[in-house]
């Protein structure tokens, strides 16, 4: 049995090993990366068996806040400042660690076709993965911040080097947004450190000693909104669509799938846990901003012409559910939020995989008007997108339903108006997903007929009939094995969580209950 923190070290080791390989042996590099990813995933998964029984036991017993966590490692790091290398697992971060493992493995599978500077790509990719594992596991605010920033820089290079549309702009915008957010967090952390008597950065230690209310009121928003920038909270969301669109497929998957969760997780762990009174004061702001994000993101997604922008804005919309759920401060809403983090991580990865890898890499266009009729050519992509889209809409049977319905119920307890607002977002989601499915995968005839009318001006009916009856206008390479494997893994996750949610929900709920016990 390996401790869960090996996920971090394995990813770093993998990145280091790849740096040592010769740059010509691309396949070797890919396999090393894949094996590293799989090893990380396995280490994360086996944690389930190590910690699961303990989690259940914790559900039954009613202890203090401390009981909600199981330490993985806790050694002093910079003792003079009360900084420790403290990693721990609980029901909230464990699903996210697993999510990161899955997104890492599938991201590598969907990057199999990268030919340019393979070595550097996977080195940056695994460094990013390691940073993300670190953020999720860290139980020391300083350590969490270190990993958080460590995860920012590789994103810049991955997007700027291997990205597409306005890649340098998108990369710089993303990095500067997250860095400004983390600057706010940094100020908040310092202020918090010096306003407690304990002089420690240990989250659990801090949570046990309340911080003065007047400090909470101004430090909480700094830390919360600093992290929320990366969660795509409206109006600080604009980095997300441009960043997602510019990024190469694997990076879009990671960005939308995992990195945005870093922000939400930071809000939960760094801000909400430590500043209950600040949270009480600010939570209506958060809830309404989240609802605006849900509706705004979905509405803007509806009018996009670019396939990838639709998914980009849909991420903003779906992350709104996470933030809304967190702000509800009741068990059902917050559990829904955490499950939504996991669910959206899978859904967004799948959607970006279809858009970026299966469609764009083959057709070299993402304009809805230019696409169409792909269902016949690459049916696998169509099926994948429909499944992911259904989960995204919140169709029962998929994980999105379980998560979003809980968030909506939780929000209803806070205020029915919030639920009403968020429900509009769900309607819009249905609209833009169906619209995208229609225009990209079907709608061939529409294109044909409009195209014909435009160019031929009602030319020979024979020719048009021939084209219509014959092969599609697309001549695309088939879906490769790595793509199929990656897509099937992610779809399976959606269905498993959708049909049997308690596999995750139990531990999430248990910890949310512990969390709420600490609230005033």
């Amino acid at each position: 049995m390996m401790r869960v923190d090996w996920t971090i070290y394995l990813s770093f080791l993998g990145a280091g090993l790849i740096l040592l390989l010769p740059r010509e042996s691309k396949n070797l590099i890919r396999w090393v990366a894949l094996l590293t990813g799989v090893a990380g995933l396995l280490v994360a998964l086996q944690g389930y068996f190590v910690y699961d029984g303990w989690v259940r036991e914790m559900v039954r017993s009613s202890g203090g806040l401390q009981t909600g966590f199981r330490d993985v490692v806790d050694v002093p790091w910079i003792p003079s400042l009360g900084i420790g290398y403290h990693l721990a697992v609980d029901g909230i971060n464990y699903p996210l660690v697993v999510l990161n493992g899955f997104v890492c493995v599938t991201g590598i599978l969907f990057s199999w076709n990268i030919e340019n500077r393979v070595k550097e790509f996977f080195a940056f990719f695994l460094t990013l993965i390691a940073g993300v594992y670190g953020v999720f596991l860290a139980m020391d605010l300083f350590l969490l911040f270190v990993f958080y920033e460590l995860a920012i820089i590789p994103k810049y290079f991955i997007i700027a080097i291997w990205g597409s549309t306005r890649k340098e702009y998108g990369a710089m915008k993303l990095v500067l947004y997250s860095f400004v957010g983390s600057a706010a967090v940094f100020i908040g952390i310092l202020a918090m450190f010096y306003s407690t008597r304990e002089r420690t950065f240990d989250i659990l230690e801090l949570a046990r000693h309340p911080i003065a209310r007047n400090v909470q009121l101004w430090v909480f928003p700094l830390i919360f909104f600093g992290f929320a920038v990366l969660a795509g909270i409206w109006p600080f969301h604009t980095w997300a669509p441009t960043g997602h669109v510019a990024a190469p497929t694997a990076a879009s998957m990671l960005l939308a799938g995992v990195v945005m969760k870093l922000g939400a997780y930071g809000c939960l762990r760094g801000a909400m846990l430590l500043f209950p009174q600040g949270l009480e004061y600010w939570r209506w702001w958060i809830a309404w901003l989240a609802v605006i994000g849900i509706v705004y993101g979905a509405a803007v997604a509806l009018v996009q012409d670019d396939f990838k922008f639709i998914i980009g804005y849909s991420s903003v919309s779906h992350m709104g559910f996470v933030l809304l759920g967190l702000a509800t401060l009741n068990v059902i809403g917050m559990s829904g939020a955490v499950l939504q983090m996991f669910s959206h991580g899978v859904v967004a990865s799948l959607l970006f995989a279809v858009v970026g890898r299966m469609v764009y890499d083959r057709t070299h266009t993402r304009q809805l008007d230019e696409l169409g009729g792909l269902a016949k050519v690459i049916p696998f992509a169509c099926v994948t997108f429909v499944v992911a889209g259904a989960a995204s809409m919140g169709m029962p049977g998929f994980s999105g339903f379980v998560a979003e319905i809980q968030v909506l119920i939780g929000a209803f307890r806070m205020s029915p108006w919030l639920t009403a607002g968020a429900a509009v977002g769900i309607l819009l989601t249905v609209a833009y997903i169906l619209n995208a499915i229609h225009k990209v995968f079907y709608a061939e005839d529409e294109h044909r007929s409009t195209g014909d009318h435009g160019s031929h001006g009602g030319g020979e009916p024979g020719a048009a009939g021939h084209e219509g009856a014959g092969e599609s206008r697309w001549d695309l390479p088939p879906i490769t094995l790595p793509e199929r494997v990656g897509a099937v893994i992610l779809m399976a996750l959606l269905v498993i969580i959708g049909l049997y949610p308690s596999i995750m929900l139990d531990m999430i709920k248990a910890n949310v209950e512990v969390f709420l016990r600490g609230m005033p």
Binding site: L19, W77, I78, P79, S80, L81, R117, E120, F145, V146, F147, E149, L150, I152, I153, Y156, F157, A160, I161, E168, M172, V175, L176, F179, V180, A183, F186, I187, L190, A191, F193, Y194, S195
Partner: protein
């Protein structure tokens, strides 16, 4: 006053003595046996001589480490743990500079180059030991004049000459200010030793900062402000950095800064203790912290904003080092023990990081044909190893964890907050510093973009000598280690400070 024993002085200043001898040996060897050798061979041989001298100078430093504090020549020079440690830092910086120089075309006067470089190091080491105003001044001049000469070493290049003249003019002006200020300080306090000034401040009525002494303090700060390139006394830095041979730029940006900051800290914290006033928000009071806070804030803003528009790597790094001087001033403004530790830690990290960055620039620019940003296009493909090192150095300058630069900044800001933890009096300065480091990330990423993202016109591999790669890799390793395990160094610095 104890009777003067020259032997005791030589023994206490063993490292400096070794370096003087090395400089003379280098000159002699060059004159006697290497005149006819081709230039690269001469550079490498004389570099090796210098390296051996520098390594030998570690021995006397090492032997003195566990000895009690020695005060020489009536309090002018002090040999204690702190000064020995920083002398060691200077030796390391000089060693790396020599290694970079060995791979660089320094012109025909190779012997003189290394000798002057060593004289500069001796100046810095004396500066670190000095606790008396005149000695400080003399040591500062020895350092500065060596650096003026080194700056002009690209004899054929107009850029280098211009840089040297500018540097000299500004430097001479600043020396005049400093000397003038010192004369006021002496006139008021009747003492030239820092301890004596401190005594005066303690016994004099109203905190000791009368109008005359205030003028003296102001002029002293102006003089030091030039040396450490703080806004508004920074104008020489971009030109000097750009024009000087790159190894010399590295030396100016690191060695002389370390020594200057150390002695500035001593002057302020020992000599002018009790005259710091207050820079806490809403409770401003005249004193040196106010001056430092203002100039520091200006430096961070102007340095970072001006760096954004630079096209030359050396100029970019020059503006970045102006901004870094601003960050260091935050630590000085804190005026606490923790502030001093933070400043020490930061200058060590800053010096190593900049030295590494300039080292990479020196190695690559001489082969890529220039030091404009475009010359570094696609370097990640042409020189992957040095590019990786550059990535580490630049990210450390930007303050990205887990590198030394991040922890240094964190500690500086923490020290500033800690100086008035109840009311967050210095939070305004910290917020400015953090916001400005977010700005700085932009231009650091632009630099990295040229190295990592852009494609180069000439895809040929750039090969660099192994000794240089190894040296720079060790520097990078130190930068990473300082970020990952800062505690031992912090504890050491704290211990050395406690003995002060």
């Amino acid at each position: 006053m104890t009777p003067l024993s020259y032997f005791a002085v030589f023994r206490a200043l063993g490292a400096e003595t070794v370096l003087v001898l090395t400089a003379l040996v280098a000159l002699t060897v060059d004159l006697a046996s290497l005149r006819r050798a081709p230039l690269p061979v001469r550079t490498r041989r004389l570099g090796a001589v210098t390296v051996m001298g520098l390594l030998a100078s570690v021995i006397p430093l090492w032997l003195q480490m566990d000895q009690p504090r020695q005060v020489l020549l009536g309090g002018t020079l002090v040999v204690d743990g702190l000064s020995l440690f920083f002398k060691l830092v200077i030796v390391v910086l000089a060693l790396v500079t020599v290694a970079i120089s060995m791979d660089y075309d320094v012109g025909r006067h190779v012997g003189e180059y290394f000798a002057v470089l060593l004289f500069g190091a001796i100046g810095m080491m004396l500066l670190i030991s000095a606790e008396e105003l005149l000695t400080i001044f003399v040591a500062l001049e020895l350092t500065s004049i060596s650096l003026y000469i080194l700056t002009a070493f690209h004899k054929g290049e107009l850029r280098s000459q211009e840089a040297a003249v500018k540097y000299f003019m500004f430097g001479a002006m600043s020396s005049a200010f400093l000397l003038f200020g010192l004369s006021y300080v002496f006139g008021v306090t009747g003492a030239t030793s820092l301890q004596g000034i401190h005594e005066f401040g303690r016994t004099a009525p109203v905190g000791g900062l009368g109008p005359l002494l205030a003028v003296g303090l102001l002029f002293v700060l102006v003089g030091f402000g030039f040396k450490v390139a703080i806004v508004p006394f920074h104008l020489w830095a971009p030109d000097a950095y750009e024009g000087a041979p790159t190894p010399v730029t590295a030396y100016i940006a690191t060695g002389s800064k370390v020594a200057s900051f150390l002695v500035l800290l001593k002057v302020l914290f020992i000599g002018f203790a009790g005259m710091q006033g207050s820079a806490f928000w809403g409770r401003f009071a005249s004193g040196w912290t106010m001056l430092l806070a203002l100039t520091g804030a200006l430096s961070m803003v102007l340095g970072n904003c001006a760096a954004i528009v630079q096209h030359n790597v050396k100029r970019l790094l020059a503006y970045s080092s102006i901004a870094h001087a601003g960050y260091i001033f935050i630590g000085l403004t804190a005026a606490t023990r923790m502030g001093a530790t933070a400043v020490f830690f930061y200058i060590i990290v800053y010096a190593l990081t900049n030295l590494g960055a300039f080292g990479v620039v020196a190695a690559l620019s001489s082969r890529a044909g220039g030091d404009e940003l475009q010359d570094f296009d696609g370097m990640a493909r042409r020189a992957p190893f040095l590019s990786l090192l550059m990535l580490i150095f630049v990210l450390s300058l930007a303050g990205i964890p887990p590198l030394g630069g991040f922890f240094g900044k964190f500690y500086l800001f923490a020290a500033a907050i800690q100086s008035d933890a109840e009311n967050f009096g210095l939070l305004w300065l910290v917020v400015l510093g953090i916001v400005m480091s977010a700005v700085s990330l932009y231009y650091y990423l632009i630099l990295l973009k040229h190295i990592y993202v852009a494609d180069s016109v000439d895809p040929s591999r750039v090969r660099t000598p192994t000794y240089l790669n190894v040296t720079l890799a060790l520097v990078a390793l130190a930068v990473v280690a300082l970020g990952l395990f800062p505690d031992p160094i912090l504890a050491l610095l704290n211990g050395l400070l406690a003995a002060l």
